[in-house]
Structure formats: structure tokens, C-alpha cells
Symmetry: C2
């Protein structure tokens, strides 16, 4: 045998018990499981440890980490996450199917088993200008990839409920090709929820409370408990695992590289469940077995003879001790991914020249109000206010510079960023990823916008002396460097933003949602100030 | 020996290891700790269990649970919390020193060791009308109680930094009587933080980020990691335990009865720390030893010969298995407190008659904007808006009815409660606890306000047919019934509020902060609409 793991606790999800045993592995598969110690070439001592199937992240947007898939995979592996289902709709908004195909290719550079869900709603609406689109034809093409296991979250639930042709056909295609259909049903309830489910939706991750997950499970959905950087299912909802342990899975949805490094990935959900009183065997079932079966990865879902040897060795507090990938043992400290070769069309994705003039504010009486930690903005009415910049009252200018060659530009007023000097900008701006900047003067805004254009993507800050930039060169939204070094740069930039006066926890993250026209109440797209409540421009 | 606990893991906080051992207890004290099994009358099998000192909640406002101390103590015990330091400034705002003295007396009805911090800032300001006051004389009187171990959080940090006489004297008194001086330093940093510490402040619980706790510890403070119902120290801040394990403690600050029952108390902080990668021995040190020493409870802080036998038997996942209190073994399921005899002045604390007319809105152009989960409000300017009720735009009337016999009443506009019919009201309204109501018509507001006045306190809801009331009869802010039955009633009322259209998670909790004149940006006290930013009335 290539590998023997003796004296280890193996989860048995049927009897819901851990069983002491010894595992023999040959050519990447389990060949023996016994009570008595086995002999082999490499022997791992499993004393007081759990040998578990790999953790699976059932739904995530890799781009939220600013990392490319291969580097994201490295961080996932360090946390015992051996399988990921990624819905990469950000790169699709920038570069369409070609962008996704690069991500699929890049994912081969990590030993993490990254699988894909084809984004179903790109672009999100027709109100803003994106660089890419995913057509019905693209969906079918992508379904031929072995690594594609799902149709990504159907965010346009009204469209699904109203049986819009495009969505009906997409779901039919998914069924035809044997792909899972991911849902997105925030606050959906009653009749509407039932209509959404009966359209063929299989799961949902937009869960906050216990009551929501209960209703969704009773309506026929599987539910993902989410621990992202900004959005969390509430602690009390974990209770559902006690009643419906087979219907629950874990996901991260959106997680920053910093949070992946410092807090963890699906191992965080796992330990949290246990800390909230869920039996370890049930928590582990939710973190591994349920998701693996959901996506048809039966061969990876249990430690038993014949199955693939993809395992995590956990210590008794469920910290990762070692990984077994395809029968090989890895120390989590030494996990690395291969460096990726990024194609030209993604390295130079900006079709806009440095700006000469900063656009002027159009609606002087309207102001976007932001609050720390929330994607939802409020509309402030400023009667008789006619200054573009009013630092005393924290009213700054925000601009949106479209970057795909159509020449759209817009400007508005915004309150809450708190900058006292300088400006900040980002080319990560959901979902279209045009350039957004907030600043205290036209000069400062121009400096940060042009720094991003010249670099072809990134986060920029101007402190009235120098421009600081974190490069996000791949499609203008992610970086191909290692997580640790990228995080250091991002931390530095956040500190700088504090020095400029911003009270926001992460002003770049907040800024990146200021163009998203599907979240209430007032946003600035490349075409102007958008009233989400009435779903039209002001 | 009265009690023997064999074969148990005992924390040794000096060597930072768990040691297997056996513990003998006689007359409420530890008389033997040995490697070999002991014999005695009652024998507890500690196999695979930890025997720990009792958990301590280093800072909490019992009233946030709507429970009186004895009933709060019952819930705490169920979670292994054997010691609590309570700053009961809510009852002090209602009934002054006499209110506190009843709480101290009531706390004798539970086996939980409830200790007290004398509230230092009652009332919070002179802008609103409270029922009670804590003078310097009161502080000194209360310091004579054995159960009083601290001077409560000095919320007026500007006053402390500027050496206002009252605070200088209070701190001097605390030092003289050997009491801990609790701090309250939200976002305090640099020079101001150092001035606050050098005034004699010893600890702080207003912590969110890792950077904050680091700076505060370096400035000389001990820090409490807080897990309340609304406010949480961030996960990343737990990291500080690895570097400064002796400077960190746990607290709950404000926790609802529902959260105490479903999520837990300090056991929640403990398990969360472990789930975030803190070594169990360090997490336990923070949850017990550090806080016990901070408040001079050395005899309770370690399992060793001569010490008091107040212990928690935890299973390996740190769930409470049994309690040992004063040498007696308790099953957590059977913990009960004695029923308290509430004095007349607290049962009938309302000096106001049912209202005939609902006050009229004064500033038609101003509107309070609330957001779910936040105490901070925003000022909306409604140019030309002259209706008192505008349901289509979710603009409702809010009223404040002063209840201590001064006859003050006020009214304003509020957006965010989302009621489509009826009204809700509460006599819990920080810090003065006058009556606050929000409703869709004068008729509905009158119904809920008068229901509270007639019952002498509680939460009320009117659905256009019936008035529903949860009685909070003790000082109009807490109940003397058991947590479980009270929680059922509160849940029912919250569900009812949803039926009326409110999207808020807990509209009664949100409402209870709408008069608090020290939290930005616009509030309604009994005297009118208050501009927190300029610290004066509109």
C-alpha cells in the first residue's frame, strides 16, 4: 500500500458516529478499512485525530478575494477545503465566456478541486454597461466542460417565477446536462417561494434566520449556511442542522483574502457549528458529505473502500493537521499553486483613455448616503445645496467612468466616506466593474481614476502627495499574486484611507457596491444616478 | 469528604496545560487534588471532562434581558456562568439607589454569584427626564455593600478626561474602597485614550477590532471581548488572546433572554474563541481566571486546595455537564431561583394618567430614519411634507410620553418601522425609560400608550382589533417571571409586529433606543426632537 493511516477516528454518517479504524490507500483510492493496524510504505499516525472527507464550499465568488482561482485554491487547501463550487460572474461581466474559460484553465494549477457553476445572470440588468455577457449559447457550451457542475444562482427570481423564456431554457439545459440548479432567494416566502422551487431550483444560500431556512427546506430546497466577509447566516439558524441534517450545507459566498487567511474558510463554519452545540459528526456531515453528494461527488464523500483518497486529518479541535490529496500526504504549510499564464485580453481589458476632466454633478439636490457594513444606501434630499464638494458636511463627489469603450461617465454626491483630503478609486464595482471614485476635489479624483486606467485595473488612493495603487491586473478585478503579499498591500491601503479621514471599515469594499443597481435605494451607474425603488434613472 | 470528582482534566493556568487529576471537596472547599482516585460520599465521574472554575461575565446590564437578577442568574447558571458583574443603570434611571438596592437584595435568590458595579452616569445627560439619579453620596453608600465590586462604566469619557469634579471624586472613592473602575471608551485612541487611562480607568468593553484592543492594552487597560445581542467584538480581535492572554476577559454587556436561552452566555464566547483557533486552556483562562482575579475573586479562580468549590464540569466540546456550587453538585436542568418579593414602589412606578390626546408633530420637515440592527439614526429632511402620517412612504408618528409626573410629551416623524396599520409601544426606552410609541394613527398610538400606563409598564401592540401586552412590571422595564415563559410572549409579540408590516428584526428593541440622546444623529426625548450632532434641541 502507498499510504497507511492508523488509529484514526472515521466519521460514519449513516450511524452518525465516529469509529476508530485504520485506512489503507493505494493508487489514490481506499483499499482497506480495518480495526487492526495496517502496514505500508508511508504511515501516518492518526492518534486523537479525525480522518474526514474534504470540506466543500458549495457556493462562492472567487473574485471577492481579489485572487485568481489557483491562488484561491491554495488558501482553501490550507483550511481543509478540497472542493469548491465557484460561480465566477464577476470575470464573466468583464470578459464573458472567454473570461470564464481562462478561470477554468487556471484552476488546473491548484490541487484544490475547483468546480464551476455557469453564471446565469450576466449582465444583471440592461441598465448599466458591462464588458461581457453570458448567452444561452454560452451556457450550453460551458456545460460541456467536465469541471462545470451547476447553473449558477438564478438571481433574477422574478424572471424565473414569471417563466421568462431565457430562464426556462437555461434550466432545461441544466437538467439535460445533469447540472445542479443553484438558487438565490433572499426573503422569498410563501407562494413566490413555491413557484421559484417548482421552476426547478434546487438550493439557496441567501439565508439569514432560522425561520427562513426552515421554510425553504419545507418548500423543497437544500440550504447553504453562509459565512462570508460581509454576510452571515445568523447563529440561531445553525439549529436547523439538528432537525434536517441532510438538507444543509456550507458556503462562503464572498470572502476576502484577508478573512480566508485570518479566520478561515469552510473550517470556520464547521468549528462554529460545533461551538454552537451541533454534534461534531453532524457538523462534519454538513461540511463534507451533504455538499459532495449534492454535486455528484459521491466518490469523495466518505472514507470507505473504493472511494477516492481526498481527506483531511483534523485534530480534536478541528484544526487541519494534514491533507491527503489523491493518495498523497501534504503539510498545509507547504501547499503551493503553479503560477498562471494570464492571456493578453485579460491583462489589458481597459478600453478607455486617461480622463482630462472629471464629470460634473447633475442632480445637486440628491445625495447617496452610505453606512458602514451595509450595501443598502439611502437617498438624502439636499434642498438648495449647490456645491459639488462640501467637506464640512461630508458631502463628496462620486464618479463612475465606464471602461469598455462606450464613453459613458456620470457623477453624483455621496455622504459617509468621510475623506477630508485626497480620493480613492476602484475598478472592482459590481457587477459591471467600471471605475468608481470618491474624492474631495476634481484634481484628486482625476489622479486616482487615471492611475487605475494606466495600470489597467486596481485600487488607488491619492493623499494629495502621492498615488498609491494595488494592482488588480487580471480583468481589472483580481490579481495573480499570492494571497499573503496581496493582503499586506491591501491592509496598507486601508490604513492610508483611515489617515485621509474615512471612518469606514473598508472604504474600497463599500465603494465597490455603489454602482450595483439591484440593491436599494440609490446608486450611480455609468449612465447616471439610479433610483432602485422605481427601477429607473432619476 | 463530601464530594469526590475522579479522573478529570484540570486547567493549570500557570503552565497552560490541562492535568489529569482527582479532586476532593469538603465543606465547600477543595481539600485534596491528587493523581490517584479518591474515595468519598458522592463521586462524580469526570471521564473526558474538564473541571473548570466558574465562568464570569465581567460586564453586563441585566435589564437588557427583561429579567430581574434572580431569573437572569438562573439562565447564567445553565450556561456555567457562576459569577456576574452587573451594572444595573437602567433600574437606577427609573428608581435611583432604592431600585439598585432591590436588585442587590433580589440577587440573593439565585445561587449565581451576582456582583454589582455602581452605575456612574445616571442620568446620562440633563437633557431628558429620568426617574432616578445616582449622586456621589449614593455611590459611597453603595460601596459599603459586600456585593458591590466596581464603579460602573464611566460613559462620560469627556467628563473624565476633562477632570470634572464629580468623576474625579467617584474614582477616588472607588480606589479608597478597593473597587475596580470600569471604563467605556468606544473609538477612543491616542492622547485621549491615555488621558482616560491615567484618570484611573482599569478596563474597557467597547471593543470592535483587533487594532482597538491592541492599542487599549498597550495603553494599560484590560479589555473585555463582548458578545451581546446587538454588539459583537469582531472575530479577528480574538487573536489578541494569543499575545496578551492575561489582559483579556469576556462579557455579554446586553443580551436578550431569548439569546441567553438559545445561544448561551459566556460559554458562547468560550466556545467561539476555541472555534477561532485559540487553545482551549487559554480560552478558559480568559473566560474564568482573568476576570475572577480582576474582581478580587481569587478563591474562585483555580481548582486548588483551599479554594472555594465553585466549578463547572464541561464535556470535551465545552458544553456544560454539571455544576459544583459551594461544594454541591447541580444538574443544569434543575437550576431554579426563588421567587422574589417586589416592593410596591417598583410595581407602581408610573406617575402619569392615561392620555386623552396624542401630541402633535412639531417639526414637519424633519424625520428620523432608522435602520435594522443599528442604534444610529439619520436625519431626513422632508421639504414641504406636512402630513403627520404618510403610510405610502413609511412616514409614521413617534411619540414620547414622560412618566415620572412632569407632564412632558413630544412627537416627531419616523421612517423605517414599516407598520401598515396599528401601533407599538414600550416603556423600555434608554436611558430614562419614558414611554415611546410608533404608530399609523392617533387612535392606535393612544391605545398602546394607555395599555402600558394602565399596566404600569411593558411592551404593547395594537392591530386595529386588540391590544397585546407583555407585562414588564418591575420598574416598567423588567419582569419577575421565568425566562422561558417570558420569551414565548416576546416572540409572539414580535411575530405580531411582522404581521403589521414591520421589516425590522425586533421593532421593540429598535424603538427602545429612539430616545437615547447620546447616540447619533437625531432622537426624540420627552422634551422634543434632539440633534445629537450639535447636542441641543431642534
Amino acid at each position: 500500500m502507498d499510504l497507511v493511516i492508523n488509529d484514526v477516528l472515521i466519521p460514519d454518517f449513516k450511524t452518525q458516529k465516529f469509529v476508530k479504524g485504520c485506512v489503507g490507500i493505494n493508487k489514490g483510492r481506499v483499499v482497506e478499512v480495518s480495526q487492526a493496524p495496517l502496514k505500508g510504505e508511508v504511515v501516518l499516525d492518526g492518534k486523537e485525530a479525525y480522518l474526514s472527507p474534504g470540506l466543500i464550499d458549495c457556493h462562492c465568488h472567487i473574485e471577492s478575494s481579489y485572487l485568481i482561482p489557483s491562488q484561491f485554491g491554495t488558501q482553501a487547501l490550507k483550511r481543509g477545503v478540497l472542493h469548491i463550487v465557484a460561480d465566477c460572474h464577476e470575470i464573466a461581466n468583464v470578459a464573458g465566456r472567454k473570461g470564464l474559460e481562462f478561470f477554468i484553465k487556471d484552476s488546473e494549477n491548484t490541487k484544490c478541486n475547483i468546480l464551476f457553476a455557469v453564471p446565469s445572470c450576466v449582465p444583471a440588468t440592461s441598465f448599466a454597461t458591462s464588458g461581457g455577457e453570458i448567452t444561452l449559447e454560452d451556457v450550453e457550451t460551458l456545460f460541456h466542460y467536465e469541471k462545470v457542475v451547476a447553473l449558477g444562482e438564478l438571481m433574477n427570481y422574478e424572471g424565473v417565477i414569471n417563466k421568462e423564456e431565457k430562464f426556462v431554457k437555461m434550466i432545461e439545459l441544466a437538467k439535460k446536462y445533469g447540472k445542479v440548479v443553484n438558487g438565490h432567494a433572499p426573503k422569498l416566502t410563501g407562494e413566490k417561494l413555491r413557484a421559484y422551487v417548482s421552476a426547478g431550483i434546487e438550493d439557496d444560500h441567501e439565508n439569514e434566520t432560522y425561520e427562513e431556512v426552515l421554510e425553504k427546506i419545507q418548500a423543497g430546497l437544500k440550504v447553504f449556511i453562509r459565512e462570508g466577509s460581509a454576510e452571515h447566516t445568523k447563529d440561531k439558524a445553525y439549529e436547523i442542522i439538528k432537525e434536517y441534517s441532510e438538507k444543509v450545507m456550507f458556503c462562503s459566498d464572498d470572502k476576502t483574502a484577508e478573512d480566508l487567511i485570518t479566520l478561515g474558510h469552510i473550517d470556520y463554519n464547521l468549528r462554529k457549528a460545533i461551538s454552537l452545540g451541533i454534534e461534531p459528526i453532524l457538523a462534519l456531515k454538513v461540511a463534507t458529505y451533504n455538499g459532495l453528494l449534492h454535486y455528484g461527488l459521491k466518490e469523495f464523500a466518505e472514507v470507505k473502500v473504493g472511494n477516492r483518497a481526498y481527506f483531511v486529518l483534523f485534530d480534536k479541535n478541528f484544526k487541519v493537521r494534514k491533507l491527503v490529496i489523491d493518495g498523497e500526504v501534504y503539510d498545509v504549510k507547504n501547499v503551493k499553486s503553479k503560477v498562471s499564464d494570464v492571456p493578453e485580453f485579460l491583462l489589458n481589458s481597459f478600453k478607455v483613455r486617461p480622463i482630462e476632466n472629471v464629470p460634473r454633478v447633475k442632480h445637486h439636490e440628491l445625495c447617496i448616503l452610505v453606512r458602514d457594513g451595509s450595501l443598502i444606501t439611502e437617498k438624502l434630499v439636499l434642498a438648495g445645496h449647490d456645491q459639488e464638494y462640501d467637506l464640512e458636511n461630508d458631502i463628496l463627489k462620486i464618479v463612475n467612468i465606464e471602461r469598455y469603450g462606450h464613453g459613458n461617465r456620470s457623477a453624483g454626491k455621496i455622504k459617509g466616506f468621510g475623506l477630508k483630503r485626497g480620493a480613492i478609486a476602484t475598478s472592482v464595482s459590481h457587477d459591471c466593474h467600471n471605475i468608481l471614485a470618491v474624492g474631495t476635489s476634481d484634481k484628486a479624483i482625476k489622479a486616482v481614476v487615471n492611475a487605475i486606467i494606466e495600470n489597467q485595473g486596481g485600487l488607488a488612493l491619492f493623499d494629495e502627495k502621492e498615488v498609491y495603487l494595488v494592482s488588480l491586473r487580471v480583468g481589472g478585478i483580481v490579481s495573480n499574486e499570492e494571497a499573503e503579499s496581496l493582503v499586506k498591500k491591501l491592509r496598507f491601503l486601508k490604513e492610508k484611507a483611515k489617515e485621509l479621514g474615512s471612518p469606514l471599515t473598508d472604504p474600497f469594499a463599500t465603494l465597490s457596491f455603489m454602482a450595483l443597481e439591484v440593491i436599494p435605494h440609490i446608486k450611480l451607474t455609468d449612465k447616471g444616478l439610479f433610483d432602485v425603488d422605481r427601477f429607473c434613472y432619476f
